[in-house]
Amino acid sequence: MESAKMQAKGHATSPLASFLQRIAARGNWGRRSVIGVPYVFLVLLFTIPFLVVLRLSLTEMDGVHIMDLTSYVDGAVNIRIKLSNYIFLTSDALYVDTYISSIKFALLNTVICLAIGYPFAYFMARSQASIRPALLMLVSLPFWTSYLLRVYAWKGLLDDNGVFNNVLMAMHLIDTPIKMMHTGFSMMLGMVYTYLPFMILPLYANLVKMDLRLLEAAKDLGATPFQTFWLITVPLSKNGIIAGAMLVFIPSVGEYVIPELLGGPSTLMIGRVLWDEFFSNNDWSMASAVAVSMVVLILIPLVVFNKYQAQAGSGRSV
């Protein structure tokens, strides 16, 4: 299995082949299929597609045909890389603004979710053991219902003819509807709303396992409740904070549905740009370049997240 994969990628096979031959001689098919089957799937559905995207971003769309990266001219191999897409991305003010704007909104989303979600998870974890399962279930329930529908619900609430405006007008507090839709405010509201459970759940999982005796020891040694919280609880929940922050920040950068339904012309988000390049402009190579640049943007948080997951997965606590 692995040798076929290697050859498909065009690797040189001599030292590798002998290594693989030694593995083949050993047998142990059970172990190899347990590792191999998911691995093949992942490579097929992740690595290779991403390489395809990378390649496409370095070419040019000529109508419908994609110009090839390599070509044979007079027996020699030419590699033609067109960086025009990337040059455009980095030089065009609109794109640069969109990148910055996406990161800003994603950061804002993460911070607000943390500000609301941490106390929420904290109070959940401190509540009586008997009602905790119910509290957990109530937080998970929105998570199980389609987020598309819930985002749409905010349209109903924030629209000019929406619930909030209707109620305010009915109470004669305002004469004309407040414009809440298609603004940065409405989009952030939608983002926080959608991602809040992703922040609460890992935080809760972390906080609920905390040894309360540590807090008692701190109080015994003279720490005030606030000091106990800041000096003991928060540092011990570091893992939960990182997990939650990554689970919120990274997908927020490339979010499409919420900016589309609740955002407006002032909320530049790179996810929408990619979508429009692909579906409206039909410029696949440009869309690919946007995708690659998005990966570059989230690369560092991705690495942080991966490290955290690997540590959590090996059962070690940091």
Binding site: E2, R31, V34, I35, V37, P38, Y39, F41, L42, L45, F46, I48, P49, V52, V53, F120, F123, M124, R126, S127, P133, L135, M137, S140, L141, P142, W144, T145, S146, Y147, L149, R150, Y152, A153, W154, K155, G156, L157, D159, N161, V163, Y193, L196, P197, P225, L247, I250, P251, V257, L261, L274, F279, S288, A291, V295, I298, L302, Q309, A310, G313
Partner: protein, 283 residues
């Protein structure tokens, strides 16, 4: 004082989480062309849905894909979880872990686009696959597998390793150990993983948009296109039905699990008391 702030914060938080859902449900019964202006109670939108073939077909397709995707995700996720927990060293392990964790966070526009381009390339080279059920399934499974792996992996980590060793000690070959001991012990996490990936597949919209073809429109795609046009009472109806089904499912599941936990704790307490009173065996 701490608990008053706590209770208020929790109450406001839950209000925030549920307000949109409640309004969705309420306005599905609204007898008015203006979705959010109350005009009286009616079931007429529900009646309309019954004849809305687009929605019904979309729903059927979504369910079909979700069933297939959940099953594929759990099988592959289980293998991946085993690979990560049992085999500490193998060729390309760090890359494997990175691959398994990436789908959890990478934005769907990226995964959707890259998968589509890959399938188009395959189609140009081999003639298949066509954009449709298979491609959507592949997209959902590649993400679902990562979620399933996380759920199953955490269960595998907390499982007592000596149980599998005991099985081998008593004469089980590795495959028998898996079927007779490991599977029953992780069964509950497999079920959770299945439900989780089922839901994720059912709700997926972004990568589905990239990967679907003519004639393979799932329910979320329909909802998205209608929602982009404006407020639409059929969406409220779909939402209400979904929320009702999900609530019943989650509630039933929670209650059942709660009962199991309480029964188990009671059994253990009874056994402990009994052990204290009778003492060890008399030779």
């Amino acid at each position: 004082m701490d608990s008053r702030i706590g209770k208020t914060w929790l109450a406001l938080g839950y209000l925030f989480l549920y307000l949109p859902i409640v309004t969705l449900i309420v306005f599905s019964f609204n007898d008015s062309k203006m979705v959010t202006l109350w005009g009286g109670f009616t079931f007429k939108w529900y009646g309309l849905i019954a004849n809305d073939t687009e929605v019904i077909d979309g729903f059927k397709l979504s369910i079909k894909i979700a069933l297939l995707s959940a099953t594929g995700s759990v099988v592959l996720g289980m293998l991946a979880a085993f690979a990560m927990v049992k085999y500490k060293t193998f060729f390309g392990r760090t890359a494997f872990i990175a691959h398994i964790n990436a789908p959890l966070v990478v934005p769907e526009v990226i995964t959707g686009l890259s998968l589509l381009l890959f399938f188009v390339m395959c189609e140009r080279a081999f003639g298949l696959p066509e954009r449709g059920l298979f491609t959507i399934w592949a997209g959902h499974t590649s993400v679902g597998m990562a979620y399933a792996a996380v759920v199953i992996q955490s269960r595998l980590l907390e499982m007592d390793k000596s149980l599998e060793e005991a099985a081998m000690d008593l004469g089980c070959r590795p495959f028998q150990v898996f079927v007779l001991v490991t599977l029953p012990l992780i069964a509950q996490s497999l079920a959770s993983a299945w439900l989780l990936t089922f839901t994720i597949s059912l709700d997926d919209v972004v990568s589905t948009a990239f990967l679907s073809g003519p004639g393979s429109t799932t329910l979320p795609i329909i909802i998205l296109s209608r929602a982009r046009l404006g407020l639409n009472p059929t969406i409220n109806v779909v939402a209400t039905i979904t929320v009702a089904l999900v609530s019943v499912g989650v509630l039933a599941g929670s209650l059942w699990m709660n009962r199991q936990e309480r029964k188990r704790a009671a059994d253990q307490a009874a056994a402990y008391r009994e052990g204290m009173s009778t003492g060890p065996l008399v030779a």
